[in-house]
Amino acid sequence: MKRSTFLKFTAPSIFVMTLLMVIPLIMAIWLGMQFMTYVNINDPQFVGLRNYIDTLKDPRFWQSFRFTALYMVIIVPAQLVIGFTIALLLDQVSRFTRGVYLSIYLLPFIIVPVVGTLMFKQLFEPSGLFSFLYQMILDDKFRYTEVSVKALIIIQGIWNVTPFALVTYFAGLQTLPAEQVEAASIDGASRWQKIRYIVLPHVRSLTIFILLISLMDAYRVFDNIFVLSEMNPIYKADTIQTYTFRTAVTVQRLGKANAMAVLTVLGIMIILIPNLIQTYRQQVEDR
């Protein structure tokens, strides 16, 4: 294909992405330098880097940053381990049973995140199923505290994202080289050895792929945490995203919120850039 034809085909898409992604991102940097609320939104006042410095000095920003880090550190490995284990077990059952299990497992992933979170929350209402079981087993009332709200957010997160790792691993297991497994069986390898020396190396690149995607998704997750923490700001269960939203909507400091959003973009670059470089090399090779 000629370069001019290529440009004609891609023009509408590039136009939309430039207009509504590249330009807004640059705008965000600029808006972060303004003192801006909803009242003076069309007439902001330039304050230089003050919003950025304010954000970096804001203890609540760092608090939400720490919770975001905790969330990522728990959710990502949990998703990988559970997803891989269930995929291995699923590989053991008959084709039909697999299909049934798989469609059940996919539900938490496909559902509207806000709705899935709300459904989860229903279990923890004072009259919910979980609260009842908690009362019955521990003989204590389930209460929202800082710890329990955070635990709730993390458990819900695992519930929501694990199917992605599961399905990806499961698809990977279907391409396992059968001869290698057979040869290992003949040589008397145990099941653990086969998993350790054949399956794990086989899914290595998939693991990196899931790891990167889930790290970035865990970093920017908003809907779930918003629903679970919206009414309870006192539980300090804000992540960077919900804290930015709160700064923009509740506190009404749009300029500072923009500065925060820009800083979070810089934060994700640490994970994103190596990933981009690797994909770039791969694409250049493949073409």
């Binding site: 294909m1 992604m21 709300l118 009259s127 009842f132």
Partner: protein
């Protein structure tokens, strides 16, 4: 892997798989149960599994008042729906060009949706449902149209520019939404387009575009170049070859991608929440019930959660194959 043979091992495997299935399903099960309870039953300290089910929550959610001749209206609406779906399913067997039939079916659906609030006294939730349909359909149609053109170009052009565009798109897909959505608010405010379908649809298209072109491109790559080259030797232009030769065999890929775009638009919360004051979509509408003192919020939230999930489950059941294929094609995710 070779299968575990010992019976104890096999039982163990199923126990874990069933346990995980229960974990996945419990919230759905419980919420559906709650949605059919009266407020009193829903608030019982000891959860009630046996109760007299009621449609009251759904009625309160969707209708402002009960129509007098409800039975007749329901019958006619159902009949209209059956006719429209029947036409869709058997479009290929009717000796009229399918395009014409699809066109009239689409008009039929629009008339039906427009007519319902004139026949029955629907509540706000119905309006939110219509908003969601408008936003979702608008986003999917525009995303896929411009996405197909771009993805085709990216699949066939091998210059470094194409790779750079793909990488930039990947980067934008990974960034936190708020970095775009907050400036959208300023753009909307400056151009006076806040709370319009136009702004919401266009911004959703932009946000979904990186994902859409990556996924469509992977499908275009599977189509051999020789196909359109043959058509071009016969004198067709590149655009004609694209329209007449490539698109007709791309349908499975387009449907898979459209399905994911549909889910992305239907699910979107943050963007609509910030940019819309009145034209809420369902995910924003339901978040109204997340707290507050009104005890009815618990059962209404349950009923709206089930109502929002229902259409998605239907869509998934119909298109399950495309969905799994899209997921398994890897490298992309909503």
């Amino acid at each position: 892997m070779d299968k575990v043979k010992s019976p104890i091992g096999r039982v163990f495997i199923h126990v874990i798989l069933i346990f995980f299935a229960v974990y996945s399903l419990v919230p759905f099960f419980w919420t559906t149960l709650q949605s059919f309870k009266t407020v009193k039953d829903a608030f019982a300290r000891t959860p009630k599994f046996i109760f007299t089910p009621t449609w009251g929550n759904y009625q309160e959610l969707w209708l402002r008042s009960l129509p007098e001749n409800g039975g007749q209206i329901a019958f006619f609406l159902l009949l209209a729906l059956v006719i429209l779906i029947g036409l869709l399913m058997f479009a290929n067997r009717i000796p009229i060009p399918s395009g014409v039939i699809y066109f009239f079916v689409a008009i039929g659906f629009v008339l039906l949706l427009w007519g319902i609030p004139r026949l029955i006294d629907t509540a706000k939730f119905y309006d939110y449902f219509i908003n969601t349909l408008i936003v979702t359909v608008g986003t999917v149609v525009i995303s896929i149209s411009i996405g197909c053109l771009a993805a085709y170009g990216l699949a066939r052009y091998s210059g470094l520019l194409a790779v750079s565009i793909l990488i930039a798109a990947l980067a934008f897909r990974a960034l936190p939404r708020l970095a775009f959505v907050l400036p959208y608010y300023s753009i909307g405010s400056a151009t006076n387009t806040l709370d319009t379908y136009l702004l919401i649809i266009l911004t959703l298209v932009a946000i979904n575009q990186p994902f859409t072109i990556w996924m469509l491109r992977s499908f275009f790559m599977e189509i051999p170049k020789e196909l359109e080259e043959a058509a071009m030797i016969d004198g067709a232009s590149r655009l004609t070859a694209f329209r007449k030769v490539i698109i007709p065999i791309m349908w499975p890929g387009i449907i898979s991608t459209a399905l994911f775009s549909l889910l992305l638009a239907y699910n979107e919360f943050l963007l609509v929440r910030l940019l819309a004051q009145t034209i809420w979509t369902l995910p924003v509408a339901i978040s109204r019930f997340t707290g507050g003192e009104d005890p009815r919020h618990l059962t209404l939230a349950a009923a709206s959660a089930v109502s929002i999930t229902f259409p998605i489950i239907i869509v998934i059941l119909v298109f399950q194959k495309n969905l799994v294929k899209g997921l398994a094609s890897g490298a992309v995710k909503g």
